[in-house]
């Protein structure tokens, strides 16, 4: 219960700190914002390492020796010697317990896959960006990522977003009236929308009229997007206010009213002291 109670107070404090921005930019908001960025970055880095790099990269390069078939060769002995060196370094020269490189290799795979040395080296190149003299090596890794992503996305985008959508915008004249009218609207909207983005011809005469119709379709789309965006933001607000309401109960020692009171009083004092104006000026 104590952990839950502390958690509730932290949740309320951080939520109200973020909400305090509605009054003005202030130290509560800044503290919560910095904490959020720091925790997010740290969490993402740790998860990425333990869920991907350790099991999928190191695990393929140095699998558990017991799962390898046959006797250990000279090359394997040298290879696992490097593994021990890495372990020595990552354990603070033997001062800490083994964690990243467990005894005898990493469980999960049954053969050494040397091809994974390439992504390992590219990953190191990426980190070399921090060293100005050899920072250019990071471009090789970035070039690989850009090339691979472009290639990977090209086919799937062409298939799912272009070809399938062209097919979907065709009017089915054998269907019922409702579907046919709906199909016609989609067809006209697609065509006129594309005409609006065609800049090689001046938007005049009938071409200009079609382009104008395209603008109306685009406006309807933007309106729908805006409506959904508002709905989404309100949902998030409801979620937060619901949490604040729950934490205002006696079982959480009235976390919401107490913290709200403290924040309001502090902000009034802070505002009266003139910090608010200074903050606006220094922004």
């Amino acid at each position: 219960m104590t952990a839950e109670l502390i958690g509730a107070w932290v949740v309320v404090f951080l939520t109200l700190s973020i909400f305090s921005y509605l009054f003005d930019d202030n130290p509560f908001y800044k503290a919560a914002e910095h904490l959020f960025i720091g925790v997010s970055a740290g969490y993402w880095a740790v998860i990425s390492f333990w869920q991907q790099i350790q099991p999928n990269l190191f695990g393929r390069l140095w699998p558990d020796l017991e799962s390898l078939a046959g006797e250990k060769t000279l090359l394997q002995s040298i290879w696992y010697g490097i593994y021990e060196v890495l372990n020595f370094v990552t354990t603070g020269f033997g001062l800490l317990d083994r964690s990243v490189f467990p005894e005898g290799g990493i469980e999960g795979y049954d053969e050494i896959r040397f091809i994974y040395i390439i992504p390992f080296i590219l990953g190191i190149f990426m980190l070399l960006r921090l060293v100005p003299k050899v920072g250019w090596l990071a471009r090789w890794a970035i070039a690989y990522i850009v090339g691979m992503t472009a290639g990977l996305r090209f086919y799937s985008f062409l298939n799912s977003d272009i070809l399938s959508q062209i097919k979907a915008s065709a009017v089915n004249f054998s269907s019922d009236w409702g579907t046919m009218i709906n199909g016609l609207i989609v067809f006209i909207g697609t065509l006129t929308g594309l005409i609006y983005f065609f800049f090689s011809k001046e938007h005049k005469g009938s071409f200009g009229t079609l382009s104008k119709i395209g603008i109306y379709f685009l406006m309807i789309k933007f309106g729908a997007s805006f409506g959904f965006a508002v709905m989404g933001r309100i949902s998030l607000l409801i979620g937060r206010i619901n949490a604040l309401k729950d934490y205002s109960a006696a079982e959480y020692n009235y976390a919401t009213p107490i913290i709200l009171g403290i924040i309001i009083i502090t902000l009034i004092i802070w505002s009266l002291k003139g910090n608010r104006n200074q903050s606006e000026l220094t922004g």
Binding site: A229, M231, G232, S235, L236
Partner: protein
């Protein structure tokens, strides 16, 4: 008439913090006093399609449930997860959870720990949580081609090969259905592009409101079967599951999204009114300025 005009013009110079306060109150009051505002939830066709597709699944069928959201979008998506687990567990469908977002691990763990014990479902036999893998679309592609190349252990650290329900699962083609609980990138779009379209696997999605206009073309085209659109979509699905399970062994109460929909509706009315007032004020101010000139 002039008095009304002046009131509208004065409204134009209203401090924005007053507007924030009114919107806040419009959300708070229905949450604190739900009995004051009771609005019915009627499922729309897209939510009905999602329900029907999931309801078609039979005992022992495999569903891949992808958690692509975090605490920030929890109010919209988490009620869908809870309703979905109730629905699928009640049908004895096997659930395989994965996450394209790091925060998804918290969300899936929370949802399973709440619902699985109610149906006495056993980890590794009835459901498994593979957890998060960084890599965005590369992860989707990996699941589509070879899960074991990507996952050696599950979220709890159990080797994949030792999990009973993973024995016959190698790639996306071994699943009967895919459901993406999505709050952005990577999410539903990537599942369509890299997994379900190329491998022809049926999928549905439950997404945040802000994504709806981007996802709807896939839904209209049949690439995605139905969509749960934001909190209203979650409430509609909750209602459908509640009706389905009514009178059965595992009867459920109205869910979180249904409880919060009154606040959503009232807040929308307030915002619409502000937009109308704002426009009237704008036109009146412009007119009076022109006259002055």
């Amino acid at each position: 008439m002039n008095l009304i005009k002046n009131i509208f013009i004065q409204l134009g110079s209203l401090d924005r913090r007053v507007i924030f306060l009114i919107v806040g109150l419009s959300v708070l009051v229905p949450l604190v006093k739900p009995e004051w505002v009771s609005l019915p939830v009627r499922p729309k066709p897209h939510s009905q399609i999602v329900f029907d597709e999931l309801n078609k699944l039979e005992q022992g069928d495999r569903v891949l449930l992808s958690f692509e959201y975090g605490p920030s979008t929890m109010p919209e998506i988490h009620p869908m997860s809870i309703a979905m687990l109730n629905h699928l567990f009640s049908k004895d469908v096997k659930i395989y959870a994965t996450a394209l977002w790091a925060d998804g691990n918290f969300m899936s763990t929370d949802a399973f720990s709440e619902i699985a014990p109610l149906y006495k479902k056993e980890y590794g036999i009835d459901y498994v949580n593979l957890g998060y893998k960084p890599g965005n679309e590369a992860v989707v592609k990996g699941i589509a081609s070879d899960i074991r190349a990507l996952y050696t252990v599950d979220l709890k650290g159990n080797p994949i090969n030792e999990i009973p329900m993973m024995k016959e699962v190698h790639n996306i083609e071994d699943f009967d259905f895919l459901f993406s609980l999505s709050a952005g990138f990577p999410g539903s779009k990537e599942w369509v592009q890299y997994a379900t379209d190329p491998k022809n696997i049926p999928m549905s999605t439950g997404c945040t409101s802000i994504q709806v206009t981007d996802i709807v073309p896939y839904v209209e085209n049949g690439q995605i079967r139905g969509i749960l659109a934001g909190m209203p979509g979650a409430a509609e699905y909750e209602k459908l599951v509640e009706t389905e399970l009514a009178g059965k062994k595992h009867e459920i109460q109205p869910g979180e999204a249904t409880r919060m929909m009154a606040a959503q509706s009232i807040a929308h009315v307030v915002i619409v009114l502000f937009i109308i007032f704002g426009n009237i004020t704008y036109f009146l101010t412009r007119k009076s300025q022109r006259k002055g000139n």
